[in-house]
């Protein structure tokens, strides 16, 4: 086994009855990588994470974590997990939840206490560590779940939409922590449906749709590869109907965004000239005009739509 490989996935497949939830996916995550698993709801992200963390069994194919078969005790031992919908034990205190996890991972008590205290400090939970978890806010609970995943000091961390539905502060705290961990050399597998999050955090992103991987690359490369989605954002001092704009030479599609229009084009330079000509010949004034690079979201939409047409 290649020493540089943290997660190796080969032909991983899961059926729920007739539904092919994860469809023969293969990919490799390198050690020390912050790997994003990006897809719309129902794409198969959670199902994939559950197979990788050994909570459910694959129907075909398999995966290994640091060379250990996914689902084996050894693979679980080296991994930390933040499931999509998971709670700590509400009747136990935050501290007792943390110590329970460390015992289940066989971490020596003194080490667990030390790391537990420092994690709770980092996550701003230390003053509330002896309170029962049922008294925690949603953000506090999620931060505790993250501490529980880290108390065993895992080499590989799996997080299934860890910031989804959280307040901005908790989400920021978690993202900062992930970046810090990654800088310290931990491998992180992060699922998300949030483009910005993937863009900010991830070294590489796999885009999954309907159980299949449609692209894997660095966010920047995915963005640039979607050449068809350059756009120009424009606003005028008066109302202009989208039907008019779509007839301007070079415009492919028009999207209304509040008081602005986004015009998709293959050639933004020429479009800017046409727009200026149009407005002067119709007595309009251009209030703002921006040329936009394709966003990761554009790449994502383009890739998942292409997939939908083929499927």
């Amino acid at each position: 086994m290649d020493n540089d490989v943290a997660i190796q996935v080969v032909n991983l497949t899961k059926y729920y009855g007739e539904l092919l939830a994860v469809d023969h996916i293969s990919f490799t995550v390198r050690r020390r990588e912050l790997f994003g698993f990006l897809g719309p709801n129902g794409a198969g992200k959670t199902t994939t994470v559950r197979m990788l963390t050994g909570v459910i069994k694959a129907d075909e194919g398999g995966a290994s974590i640091l060379g250990y078969r996914a689902g084996s005790l050894k693979a679980k031992q080296v991994a930390g997990v933040v499931p999509e919908i998971a709670n700590a034990y509400a009747d136990l205190s935050g501290w007792n939840n943390l110590m329970l996890m460390s015992e289940l991972y066989g971490i020596p008590a003194s080490e667990a206490r030390q790391r537990g205290a420092s994690l709770l400090q980092d996550m701003g939970l230390f003053p509330r560590k002896n309170d029962a978890v049922k008294a925690y806010s949603k953000g506090m609970k999620q931060r505790l779940i993250l501490c529980m995943a880290l108390v065993s000091d895992p080499e590989v961390l799996f997080l299934d939409e860890p910031t989804s539905g959280l307040d901005v502060q908790s989400a920021r705290l978690i993202k900062d922590l992930l970046q810090g961990l990654n800088a310290k050399g931990k491998t992180i597998f992060l699922t998300t449906h949030d483009m910005d999050e993937a863009n900010q955090l991830c070294d590489r992103v796999a885009i999954i749709n309907k159980g299949r991987i449609v692209a894997i690359d660095a966010p920047e490369k995915l963005r640039m590869a979607t050449s068809a989605t350059h756009s120009v954002e424009v606003s005028f001092d008066n109302v202009v109907s989208p039907e008019v704009l779509v007839n301007i030479p070079g415009v492919n599609t028009v999207k209304k965004l509040g008081d602005k229009y986004r015009l998709y084009t293959a050639n933004p330079g020429e479009l800017v000239v046409s727009l200026v000509n149009y407005s002067s010949s119709h007595g309009l004034k251009v209030i703002s005009l921006n040329i936009l690079e394709p966003s990761l979201e554009d790449a994502f939409v383009a890739l998942t739509e292409k997939e939908a047409k083929h499927g």
Binding site: N87, Y89, M148
Partner: protein, 251 residues
């Protein structure tokens, strides 16, 4: 050798899980109180006014309380955890499904043994004597483990409603106490009655308890113990095999 190390490691983690179960179970005070009071009242309602001797009543009372308490935690822990959304996290820890099952059974076992000490003390206080306390203790421990495993079998259907599981287990538990020689001793039952009694694991514990306290057992002690052991093995194997299949479907 490595296998032995893993077995020890997993056994240790079962204990961790059992301790967690007990802590959480005790935090649900009313459930605990009900679990203790229910068998006591049930017992009293069938014995009061019958002018029964203390040494006849105590073995029945111990059997009844042991059966109800040892089957109280193990059926509901897994559905509880699934409903509370703690199960997936637990399953992703380096523990086998068997380890989780044994942990839940141990919690129920400890609760059963702990509470059953009370009617035993009551009996001693009222003057009963236990002729062979080693056999009696052994039977108590084995039976508690057997009943706790049975309780776990009730939680196999992958429903995440603890109340549904409670209903399933009550439907089984309730009749069992009437066919296990608690209210009517085995040798006073007709042949068909005895035949039914033999399918209940509680019968064998009650028989040993009657042997040790009343001095009148129906079956040889060795037979009682062996049958209890066989039931325990059966329930354990069924629980482990089937939870393997159903537990992942709960999350």
């Amino acid at each position: 050798m490595a296998d032995m190390a893993i077995i020890l490691q997993q056994a240790q983690r079962s204990l961790v899980i059992a301790r967690k179960d007990i802590r959480i179970y005790y935090s649900k005070g009313p459930v605990v109180i009900f679990g203790i009071l229910f068998p006591v009242f049930l017992f009293l309602s069938f014995t009061i006014g019958r002018q029964l001797a203390v040494d006849f009543m105590i073995p029945g009372l111990v059997g009844m309380i042991l059966f109800f308490t040892a089957t109280s935690i193990s059926p509901i822990v897994v559905p509880w955890e699934a409903q509370a959304r703690t199960l997936e996290r637990l399953m992703s820890c380096p523990v086998r499904i068997e380890t989780i099952i044994i942990g839940d059974i141990l919690a129920s076992f400890a609760f059963g043994v702990g509470i059953s000490v009370l009617p035993i003390i009551l009996g001693l206080f009222l003057g009963v004597t236990i002729s062979n306390s080693v056999i009696f203790a052994l039977a108590l421990i084995l039976a508690a483990f057997c009943f706790a495993s049975l309780g776990n079998v009730f939680s196999i259907p992958p429903t995440n409603m603890p109340s549904t599981v409670n209903m399933i287990s009550s439907v089984v538990k309730f009749p069992v106490v009437f066919i296990s020689g608690i209210f009517i001793p085995l040798d006073q039952l007709p042949a068909w009655g005895q035949a039914i009694a033999y399918i209940s694991p509680l019968t064998y514990f009650t028989d040993i308890a009657r042997g040790c306290i009343q001095g009148r057992a129906h079956l040889p002690v060795a037979v009682d113990l062996l049958v209890l052991l066989a039931f325990t093995a059966l329930f354990l194997v069924v629980a482990m095999k089937l939870h393997q299949k159903t537990m992942p479907r709960r999350i």
